[in-house]
Symmetry: none
Subunit: 538 residues, 2 copies
């Protein structure tokens, strides 16, 4: 049986730009278009040339090689011809393969927002599409407010979509602009549109997440018959966002419910790069990835429950709706208070630590982890601290160096110019190979000062930690008040790009930070020796 | 036409506890159960008494008044009677109104995970439900892996649900445990279950978000005929989370597609509190609310100036799928001074601050707030700091006292017994009525020491702040690294029970804490004078 093709249309660079807090530069857009093109999307909508300098410059060159590069704009204004409309001219001058027009399809908006007649709006669609087709480009029409418009005046909404289709638009895209339509309504309205004479192969869906169902609405439209889906990377977009392509694509490719009927332009190899794509995009936006994101999130294949963990160890597939490798992600069994022995064995094995199930030291490790988690330690979030503790308890660990004392000082006072200034300073005493070393440093705040002083002179270990860098720092107060317990999580990275998390807990935030900083350094020294040992053994 | 009742079952405290990084204390659980009960949910599942000390203690008392308080546990083991099963005993000893059993309904899992026969599993369901019903409690059964089980062996999955129903369970809950089932499949399978003889009024749905469709799957199950929905606050839960009740509830109540057929226990008044509920829960978890969350997110009704701007100014309602007030949220038109100004006037009026719309000081306040929020201040979460700033800019505020300098010291050293100890000390210089006062204090950590020293001697104001107390303290690092910007939020309360939040932002955590502590004291002094003024005027 031949499968029908679903076309994927990315609007990260156009509708995604409406996300509060997101503002792409031309360089950002070039980088993102490159990622999308390489991944294999059918269409990449780049923005609105003529509307702002960024988009105009972005469309001064062709930015994709495989994907069709799409310029977005409005249909011609009433009262001028398409050839005299400056907006249309900018679209036709842009280096685009296709032009996607936005056109009102709710008569109320035609009247109130455009101040036009229904007929002028239809003429605008026809003339604009014809101009693009005549230029040799592909034309698309986003039918704005289509579903709300259809509920208010089905004949007019249909007339707009038909005007686009009959003028030669490759796609009439049905937009749920306000995002409030329910999946059952989407499907029913799509079926009505197809019954009214526009083939599903010429229809697209553009959904928003205002009721948390942008993905479901997109798939309901596919069930109804549309064959193009518009969405964005990680679901960015106005208000609650657009349909999330990083969720929709794995579902279309991996779920038999769709895969047996449909195919997309995304190969299995490309799909295995989708977690990386999602994270690369977050990096570019400089925001933390959503750990619970479907398919691509850090926790998408993580299990915490002890009762499930033993079954997962026996047969992981029965607890996973798809194989994590298929989307470039991996299974995680979280070590936590709730985890049983099976969890621990799985996690230790992944770190190359082998210990017999009956070993008494394993029980000691488990009870230590439980006790420390009751105090506030969070080992599931601090992989490196867990591994350190496990190795220490199970096999012992040398003390590379010790810190007999440290002192941090924060002072707010007037500086030479009479302005109030806050200064932080830390003094650390380190004992390496019997030799005492004192270091002092200033920093932004006491923890920063302590971090710098602690890593200033570690004697013969100093060269090993020169490339160590603090990547992230998180503080959580575990119960109310300033006298409460504080948990500090620290992410470190080294010059090779390896990253690890450590944890510290105390009623004193400086002390908690110190523990996490110490763990980070000791972990790095331990790993170096492990790698050296492996190299020596080869 | 009478509407059918949909029952809402919250499992934030049970399945929500499976979220990586979430670990509720008994106090947390008591607080959250209170929020859920007050909001009006039909069922609040609190945890698994007998499985861990936290849950056992939590179930030592009844924690809800309106909602049914539900204990979760496993069905009896094979080979023992229900009355001899220690797990069942713990459930029956708990202070619960209802017991929800989890039972395998996929024959594969019965064999591999339980190591039981299919018949033993069915007997376990029947005997366990009967024991709960005999105790006078309501019984529910979560049919684990129901949808995957149904696809593999429909007769056995059905037999499990039927065993629950026929033994007297009020609800047989169909669980999509692995979260991979598609809405169309959910609906079809629900319809098949009803056709096989279990009434929809006795069926529930438990969906996970692994394909981003937990909400859609829950609603598809309702379309198919189930009348109970299980979910969590803000969609927390294992892997990608559970169905998000803060999304589902507004959809059921506000969308005509459902509201004309169904009713819930949530009144319109209660619904207007859902944004507050969602944020209160995030505060309790100490995590940043998701700004793009449907209905309740900060950006759920935000529009960025663009092609829609003028139309929104003309008629905002046609760009909103529901009125933001219905869910206790508000419209935000970004980069639009008009929209911004109206919002400010509303916010100021709410605090009794009257200012003419054309007043230049209002523009100054707006630009100061925007600038400070760009730096990291969060005035939405720090009411008292916002009011202080507004009064300062609009009407001026006397300087009650000043702090020309302070010093905090944290030292880790050996104590008299040779044990490592960390000590914190703060010295504060305060200027009151031209007189300099120095105070020193030790504390748990530098911020605690600073707080105590600062409030030790404020001269003639001292008597006014004797009843001031720090109720909560939150730290958020706004960007990575220990050199990053830190935001501190402090909640204070006085002897009359009044509470207020203040904020501080700096690259130095001590400095940020100091700002928030200062704001807290100044706010208290200002409020005292305001009350005295009102009393004098009477």
């Amino acid at each position: 049986m031949t499968r029908e093709r679903i076309y994927l249309f990315d609007t990260t660079l156009r509708d995604g730009q409406q996300t509060p807090g997101v503002d792409f530069s031309v360089a950002d857009k070039v980088a993102i278009a490159g990622l999308l093109d390489e991944f294999g999307l059918d269409y990449v909508e780049g923005g609105y040339p003529g509307a702002n300098p960024t988009d105009t410059e972005f469309f001064s060159g062709k930015r994709t090689s495989r994907s069709k590069f799409v310029a977005f704009g409005m249909t011609k204004r009433a009262g001028v011809s398409a050839s005299n409309d400056p907006g249309i001219a900018a679209l036709l001058q842009s280096c685009s393969d296709a032009v996607c027009f936005v056109a009102k399809s709710w008569d109320y908006h035609v009247r109130v927002a455009l101040g036009s007649t229904n007929e002028e709006n239809l003429e605008g669609i026809t003339a604009s599409v014809s101009a693009v087709v005549a230029s040799g480009r592909e034309a698309l029409v986003d039918c704005e407010h289509f579903f709300d418009g259809y509920k208010a005046n089905p004949a007019y909404a249909l007339a707009c979509a038909k005007a686009a289709y009959e003028a030669g638009a490759r796609w009439a895209v049905l937009c749920d602009t306000n995002g409030g339509t329910q999946p059952a309504e989407v499907r029913a309205i799509v079926e009505a549109v197809i019954a009214a004479g526009i083939p599903g192969g010429n229809l697209g869906i553009h959904a928003h997440d205002d009721t948390g169902q942008a993905v479901a609405n997109s798939l309901a439209a596919v069930e109804g018959g549309v064959r193009q889906i518009q969405g964005t990377l990680n679901g960015i977009g106005e208000r609650c966002g657009n349909a999330n392509l990083t969720t929709i694509i794995p579902t279309l490719v991996l779920k038999p419910h769709y895969a047996k009927r449909f195919e997309t332009g995304i190969s299995e190899d490309a799909l295995a790069g989708i977690s990386r794509l999602s994270r690369a995009f977050d990096e570019l936006l400089n925001r933390a990835p959503e750990p619970q994101a479907p398919y691509v999130g850090q926790f998408a294949f993580a299990t915490k429950a002890g009762i499930h963990a033993s079954a997962i160890a026996k047969e992981p597939k029965t607890y996973e709706h798809v194989p994590p490798e298929a989307v470039g992600n991996r299974r995680r069994v979280m070590v936590s208070d709730q985890g049983g022995k099976a969890n621990f064995l799985v996690e230790l094995k992944r770190r190359g630590i082998v210990v017999p199930k009956g070993d008494a030291r394993l029980d000691m490790l488990i009870s230590m982890v439980k006790e420390r988690e009751a105090q506030g330690y969070a080992y599931e979030a601090a992989d490196a601290s867990f591994e350190l503790l496990a190795r220490k308890v199970l096999h012992g660990l040398p003390e590379y160096f010790s810190v007999p004392s440290f002192r941090c000082m924060v002072e707010r006072r007037f500086d030479a110019n009479g302005a109030l200034k806050t200064v932080s300073e830390a003094i650390v005493k380190v004992l390496v190979d019997g030799e005492e070393k004192m270091s002092v440093a200033e920093g932004h705040g006491p923890v920063n000062a302590l971090d710098i002083a602690l890593r200033k002179d570690l004697g013969r270990y100093q060269s090993e930690i020169n490339d160590l860098e603090l990547a992230d720092y998180k503080v959580r107060i575990l119960n109310g008040g300033t006298g409460a317990i504080t948990r500090v999580l620290i992410e470190s990275r080294d010059g090779t790009g390896v990253r690890w998390w450590t944890v510290g807990v105390s009623d004193n935030i400086i002390d908690a930070s110190f523990q996490a900083l110490m763990d980070s350094i000791v972990y790095k020294l331990m790993k170096n020796r492990e790698l050296a040992g492996l190299a020596a053994a080869e």
